[in-house]
Amino acid sequence: MSEIIQSSAPVIQYPSLEKNSLDIREFKNIFLTIMVWGIAIMASIPLFSVISMLIIEGGARIDFAALTEIPPAGFEMGGGFGNAIIGTLVMVGIASLISIPFGIMAALHLAILDPNSKVATVSRFLAKVLTGFPSILAGIFVYGVIVITTGTYSAWAGGVALAVLMLPTVTLAAEEAMKQVPQRMKDAAFGMGCTRTQVIMKVVLPTGLPGILTGVILAVAGAAGESAPLLFTALFSNYYMAELAEPTASLSILIYNFSGMPFDNQIELAWSASLVLVVLVLLFNILARLVGRSKFKE
């Protein structure tokens, strides 16, 4: 910036246009720059603190037993959270099976088939509202609809509650990705006499795939970390799941339950379960970034 000012100062009788480092404006500049650097660095501290704690506290207890055994009760030593890992994966799987097809189909309607219709406008707006919804309300909703009706807490109910949370995220991300598909590609396909379905299947979906996948993976990562909606839909269980229609353990609920316990063993397990959960979530995040990046390299 200073070069620009200097080079445009040919006349001498004007006030000095050179940067004066004792000027109050310059002081303000330096002060605020330091402030904003400080803010950026301070904001990064929590992430590093969380991750280092997870590695130190969680890494200390991570072994084959912790990953495979069932949770210990009370004063018992040892134990693990194998059933919770399975439970989380199963419920996220159920949620994905429900929300991904629905979300992508809804996104097709919003992005391609009828973007400006009333249904699309309202649905897009409500999807945005739904992303800001407290996740616990999804749990309460599913408790009312499924748990009360079937009379039991179940992996199904947990999966559906997660699906309610994933649906708007998947829809909005997929819509955004589909909008990036150049109009002329669609025009070319329509010009060849394709039906709208053919355009979608052969042009829009293949071209938008990296973007759609990024959105989907991020939604899956978010669902894996959720706990509030599982609290009274899947509840918890101390055993490996035998069927889908019974209370099911999950990593996040295990962390919640164990964090408040007065036993060191449980607290250690809560840390290692957190480590597993965060590694899972971060892996998904990195995967999403890699998939999303390949879009620009092509």
Partner: protein
């Protein structure tokens, strides 16, 4: 025989064949299904509101509006009131918004106003984005075993030195508002930062050039030109961040102490609507569940209003800038 590309092309089976009747059928079914899925989102929201509303109906009939102004939650006496929870929800979200807002906007300025090299910028951007990826329970666990012990000496000193200030009027004896609000601030920071970054990037480059051309310093440009221009977008980010903070459950349930208490003190335990639901629901009897459904409805209404307001501001901003192109 002479090679004839036209003949070859006309006999090849390519996409240029007209869609068959089968294709048209598939098209109709496919589009109908897409239409159904888009409307399913609308139905889902309506169903959620209807379901929670109808579950809450008995409690609404019994307690009426007194539920919102009542201050006791006692399942044995059948007395239910959520004023302390509403207070705790709004107060904790507000503190989180002040902290998260300053940091979020600061980071947005840092990332968009060319303070760092593009590569380092990417590092910071990724760090902030990953903050949003850490699950809420993990923040709760971190809060219990790292943040609370870290805050206690400072909180004790503040309480002893400034105990006449309402903010510091009680001791931090473990869980409380301050650690909860701090974790909340960390959790909404990425939302505020992402939307503010968007708002800054939307400003045409020539606006900044014009300000520099008049001899403004870097920070004069940021504070007097960029910030006001991006203000509506930043406001949208703040409101949506506030909405996030209102509904956050697990970290708060683990850190806030779950005590029905209306106090200005940062160090006293409190309660929020969402953490009331999380901590009370699993052991609640029928009557209490109805009351909890009523509490859920209150939470639903509050977050709905805040989110719609945030989205409305966001859409207004987008329209403003798209119109000016």
């Amino acid at each position: 025989m002479v090679h004839d590309p036209f003949k070859q092309a006309s006999s090849a089976r390519t996409l240029s064949a007209p869609p068959s009747a089968n294709d048209y059928m598939k098209d109709i079914v496919f589009r109908a299904f897409a239409y159904f899925c888009a409307s399913a989102i609308i139905l889902l929201v309506v169903y959620i509101v209807f379901e929670i509303g109808s579950e809450a109906l008995p409690a609404i009939k019994t307690h009426g509006l007194g539920f919102i102004t009542g201050t006791t939650w006692d399942a044995n006496k059948g007395e239910f009131g959520v004023l302390p929870e509403i207070w705790g929800t709004l107060y904790s979200a507000l503190i989180a918004l002040v902290i998260g807002g300053v940091f979020g906007v600061g980071i947005a300025i840092f990332l968009t106003q060319s303070f760092v090299h593009a590569k380092l910028e990417l590092v910071f951007r990724t760090t902030i984005e990953l903050l949003a990826a850490i699950p809420s329970v993990v923040y709760g666990l971190w809060g219990i075993y790292v943040l609370i012990p870290l805050l206690r000496p400072g909180a004790l000193w503040l309480h002893e030195t400034f105990d006449w200030v309402p903010l510091f009027s009680t001791e931090l004896s473990g869980p409380g508002l301050a650690p909860a609000a701090l974790v909340l601030a960390i959790m909404i920071l990425p939302t505020v930062a992402a939307i503010s970054v968007d708002a800054f990037k939307r400003i045409p480059y020539r606006v900044k050039e014009a300000a520099y051309g008049m001899g403004a310093t870097k920070w004069e440009v940021i504070l007097k030109v960029m910030l006001p221009t991006a203000s509506s977008g930043i406001l949208a980010g703040l409101v949506l961040g506030f909405g996030r903070a209102l509904g956050e459950t697990m970290a708060l349930a683990m850190l806030i102490g779950n005590v029905n208490n209306i106090s200005f003190s940062l160090f006293s335990p409190a309660n929020t609507l969402a953490s009331l639901l999380a901590s009370t629901f699993p052991e609640a009897g029928d009557i209490e569940v109805q009351a909890l459904m009523y509490a859920a409805l209150v939470l639903l209404v509050i977050t709905f209003i805040v989110n719609v307001a945030g989205l409305a501001i966001q859409q207004y901003t987008m329209r403003k800038f798209e119109g000016k192109k």
